[in-house]
């Protein structure tokens, strides 16, 4: 058993796993199709991967289940700058800005998850995995961010050769929308 998979939180969601996987598969294919047909120059593969396999399906499946902590304006500004740097393909600068944001709010699940996605794009799968797990640990463990957490974990594990772990993470991602949020 993988150490991330062993959890008390998915006990009661077994019934919905298959539907979640199907949904993910469909949406992944859909996004892949759409981006393949786009007229503009295609983004680099790794960028598509983050968008297609992490962000888009998480957005689609979150269905209004949003649990975001309030962000202070300083962090918001840094995240916006980091996002701009990322879009411009300057992942180093994006990482520097996210690190700066983390100095202000070290336990902000969204900053951590953004960092995980940047790491995914620079193909540092180990760090991508670490940041996503950390984000999940201190995050809401439900909703879109949770879904992005597990999808990132899934993609990272796949690249690291842990295929069963990747599949498990995919299941956890679908469960993000069904699990009762655990407070505490």
């Amino acid at each position: 058993m993988n150490r991330y998979g062993k959890s008390g939180l998915v006990r009661n969601v077994d019934g919905t796993g298959l539907a979640g996987v199907l949904r993910t598969l469909v949406s992944t294919l859909l996004v892949a199709l759409i981006s393949a047909c786009a007229a503009s120059a295609p983004a680099p593969v790794e960028e598509r991967e983050v968008e297609a396999r992490v962000r888009e399906p998480a957005r689609q499946s979150s269905e209004g289940v949003q649990v975001f902590p309030l962000q202070n304006p300083a962090v918001k500004e840094l995240l916006a700058d980091a996002g701009a740097a990322e879009n411009a393909g300057d992942y180093d600068q994006a990482a520097v800005l996210l690190e700066r944001a983390l100095r202000i709010q070290p336990r902000d699940p969204e900053i951590l998850q953004n960092m995980a996605e940047v790491q995914l794009q620079v193909k540092d799968y180990e760090q991508a995995l670490n940041f996503a797990v950390r984000s999940y640990d201190i995050g809401p463990r439900v909703g879109e961010i949770c879904s992005r957490n597990w999808r990132t974990i899934s993609v990272a594990r796949e690249h690291l050769g842990d295929h069963s772990g990747s599949a498990q993470a995919e299941l956890r991602a679908s469960a993000c929308m069904n699990t009762k949020p655990t407070s505490l």
Binding site: R3, G8, N72, P73, A74, L97, E99, Q127, N130, S183
Partner: protein, 782 residues
């Protein structure tokens, strides 16, 4: 050369034989001969000098000291920052308090508001311009930040970091290079007006200038004027010694001509501006106008006013004689002479020059402090950089080193150590007690303060980094961590025996560990044994764990120690430095997301190119759910265990995790504690390791508390990670129970380690309402 000499020598022999030649012819021949010898010597000599001039000038690379910067303070609404801390940070960054913050590097305090005029600065991730802004503070937090000019709200501003050290070249020259394009025009033309009016036109030496100087000297009957051009002065500084001989004067002239032949005026002037000696800062010679500007005025060269430019130009003539701090009268006279020359040559209007000569010198009282209080931290920086850079690179490449030091944390940490040790002295302990402290940010592993001696200003033995001392009970949490990792066998409510035991050691001797209070406590829970730091229980538990497992767990936590695998290791017979202990506890405090401790985040070249970045990289520990459970146990050390005096010392009841440590015969006192965002380790003991009468709670914990009393404390986060959860259990039996039942307490369990049997109280209520039990089981703690 030797060939031509031989020829001439043979000629002379022939000459000696011919006696019929006339005298005039002889004189003529002699003249030719001498001329020949002279030329024969001169040509190769010039070739030699030419080689020297071109290779030296082209390969010219000044050894530039590296500058070490503290972390940049982030100012934003909501930032935890008191007025005192902000002022402390400003002072560390070399800001001056004034009535109106009208110049970069100054600030003004009015009530709970501070007006700041930030200097422009090249941060490690980009340059930012000068900025005037106003910060208001309320209740220990930044309330508002506004742009002074526009009045607009600023979401985030950072202060340029304090320069905490320079790593100087061995020849002890301090220098900040400037490009000729960035030099104020008044300095460029003013320098010529005063030192070398014909600079633009002469070929390196100025015959008219020499004649004029000679005339003036003749008139005065002594040397009052020099005819040296700027080029000659540069040559003198660059290539020659300071002795005044005819030969040197000759060399100087030739080399000046050669320099001018090869290079253009701008290059020569730029070299001059960076080379000229302009003062002495302690053991270090201040070279070049760029550094001199910072040294005398605390402003970059491009911001100098005419009165300051004229002073610097005047000082070229004699930097110590005209030292404006030591001899302001002389300096002023000299400056006014320069201003007169400016108006005479039309560089300034007469009125402007007259007005400038009425103003003060504009010199700061003292050069910006060179941060001698940061020795201990700089040692850590050097250690980290030594993995990448050679010492000579640090001394010559002009690197810009961006570190994680927080000047205000450092100040508080040093105060806590120095004050705490003084206090222990007053309580009857030795006045030779030493102390050390390391503090780091939990999530990033960034070290914010290092104290290596009770005296901040004493460089030398750095105990925080280099003192290897037995850690005592500080090691114990790892024994319990290993036990908790075996969830099938142990949870915090598992019972172990705190009873006397005797162990046969490898050398045949026997070892009988005793408890601190000399008592044995019978059957105790893991939670009690850890929070009360019972030795006998810990050794029993450790024997089940295995000492080699403990040692390898230590390595997993980032500390490879040379440990003999004997049972006394369970009680801390391991020698570690305070820095290493900090590394271990960073992992615990960060819920298992280990980050190698860092003191440097980036290194740049002198011109701002990025060389190395040390990004945040996490190395997660296995079984983080066990670390989550252990974190709770360590808060119980503070709440009811050996560190229960801490809250009193802190003056507040905060959720803090910690562990005390005392070694045999009270030689060492340790306290490690962490909050949600900070982890710090304090150590107290004697350098020669003699019994010091200290315990974890009577010495190191007091220092730790004195530090954290001055910091905003964020409570430890006790939410369990994936794989562990909270349960209501009976405090005596450890059975499942419900909130509200007698003796019910909440304890975290790793999945699968939870008890299965339940108390009667729970069983009774379960019949009533099956649903709500789940709620109770997984209910909120706080």
């Amino acid at each position: 050369m030797s060939k031509s000499r031989k020829k001439k020598a043979s000629k002379r022999r022939k000459q000696g034989k011919s006696t019929k030649k006339s005298w005039s012819s002889r004189v003529w021949r002699l003249f030719l001969l001498l001329g020949g010898i002279f030329l024969g010597l001169l040509v190769p000599w010039v070739v030699y000098l030419n080689h020297q001039v071109t290779t030296e000038f082209e390969g010219r690379k000044w050894d530039l000291p590296s500058r070490v910067y503290a972390r940049a303070l982030e100012i934003y609404p909501g930032a935890p920052l008191s007025l005192q801390d902000l002022e402390q940070e400003l002072k560390s960054s070399g800001y001056r308090r004034s009535d109106r913050a009208s110049r970069p590097g100054s600030y003004r305090v009015s009530g709970q508001a501070i007006d700041i005029y930030r200097r422009s600065f090249r941060f490690h991730d980009g340059a930012e311009g000068a900025l005037q802004f106003k910060v208001t503070i309320a209740g220990g937090r930044v309330n508002t930040v506004r742009d002074t000019a526009s009045g607009g709200v600023l979401d985030l501003v950072r202060l340029e970091p304090a320069e905490i050290a320079s790593i100087y070249p061995l020849q002890k020259e301090d220098r900040t290079l400037v490009n000729i394009e960035d030099v104020p025009p008044l300095l460029v033309s003013g320098l010529q007006a005063v030192e070398d009016r014909n600079f633009k036109h002469h070929p390196g030496i100025d015959l008219r200038g020499i004649a004029r100087a000679a005339l003036a000297n003749l008139k005065a009957g002594k040397a009052v004027q020099g005819g040296s051009t700027l080029t000659q002065q540069l040559v003198k500084n660059f290539f020659l010694t300071q002795e005044r001989t005819v030969l040197r004067k000759f060399n100087e002239a030739i080399m000046a001509l050669l320099l001018e032949f090869h290079y253009d005026k701008a290059e020569i002037l730029e070299a001059y501006i960076n080379e000229v000696f302009l003062g002495q800062h302690g053991a270090y010679a201040v070279h070049g106008f760029g550094r001199a500007s910072l040294f005398y005025f605390d402003q970059p060269l491009e911001r100098l006013e005419p009165r300051q430019i004229s002073l610097l130009i005047g000082m070229v003539k004699g930097p110590s004689y005209y030292n404006p701090r030591r001899h302001p009268q002389r300096a002023r006279q000299r400056r006014d002479q320069v201003l007169a020359a400016f108006s005479e040559t039309g560089l300034m209007t007469e009125a402007a020059a007259a007005e400038a000569s009425l103003s003060g010198l504009g010199v700061t009282d003292s050069p910006r402090a060179r941060g001698t209080r940061y020795h201990a931290f700089i040692d850590l920086v050097r250690n980290q950089l030594a993995q990448v850079y050679k010492e000579e690179d640090l001394r010559s490449e002009g690197l810009r080193i961006f570190t994680t030091l927080s000047p205000s944390d450092q100040e508080k940490a040093q105060k806590a150590v120095s004050g705490g040790l003084r206090n222990l002295g007053e309580r009857g302990l030795s006045s030779s007690l030493q102390g050390a402290l390391v503090m780091a940010d939990v999530a990033s592993g960034e070290v914010t303060a290092v104290v290596g001696d009770r005296d901040a200003n004493r460089p030398g033995f750095n105990r925080a980094i280099n003192a290897r001392r037995q850690v005592g009970s500080v090691i114990k949490p790892l024994v319990y961590l290993l036990a908790l990792e075996h969830g099938a066998d142990y949870n915090l409510m598992s019972r172990i025996q705190d009873e006397p035991l005797t162990l046969k050691q490898a050398d045949g001797s026997s070892w009988t560990p005793a408890n601190y209070d000399g008592q044995s406590h019978g059957e105790v829970t893991l939670l009690e044994a850890l929070s009360q730091s019972y030795n006998q229980a810990t050794v029993r538990l450790g024997l089940n764990i295995g000492v080699n497992n403990l040692i390898s767990r230590l390595a997993q936590l980032g500390v490879v120690a040379d440990v003999t695998p004997v049972p006394s290791v369970f009680l801390g017979a391991v020698e570690l430095t305070p820095l290493e202990v900090t590394q271990i506890y960073q992992s615990l405090a960060a819920s298992g997301f280990s980050v190698p401790l860092r003191s440097v985040i980036a290194v740049q070249t002198a011109t701002g190119g990025e060389l190395v970045r040390y990004p945040l990289r996490m190395l997660p520990q296995p079984r983080r759910e066990a670390i989550g459970v252990l974190n709770y146990a360590l808060t119980q050390v503070v709440e009811r265990g050996t560190a229960r005096a801490l809250n009193g010392l802190l003056g507040q009841a905060a959720t803090v995790a910690g562990k005390t440590g005392t070694t045999n015969d009270r030689r060492d006192s340790w306290f490690v504690g962490y909050t949600r965002n900070r982890v710090a380790v304090a150590w107290v003991g004697e350098d020669d390791n003699r019994p010091a009468g200290v315990t974890g709670s009577n010495a190191a914990m007091r220092i730790w508390a004195a530090l954290f009393r001055e910091l905003a404390i964020e409570p430890v986060d006790l939410r369990m990670p994936d794989g562990a959860f909270w349960l209501w259990v009976d405090s005596n039996s450890g059975l499942l129970t419900a909130e509200g039942c007698e003796g019910a307490i909440q304890v975290p369990y790793i999945n699968g380690s939870e008890p299965e049997e339940m108390t009667d109280c729970l069983a009774g209520s379960q019949d009533e309402d099956d649903e709500s039990i789940w709620k109770k089981w997984f209910g909120k703690k706080r």
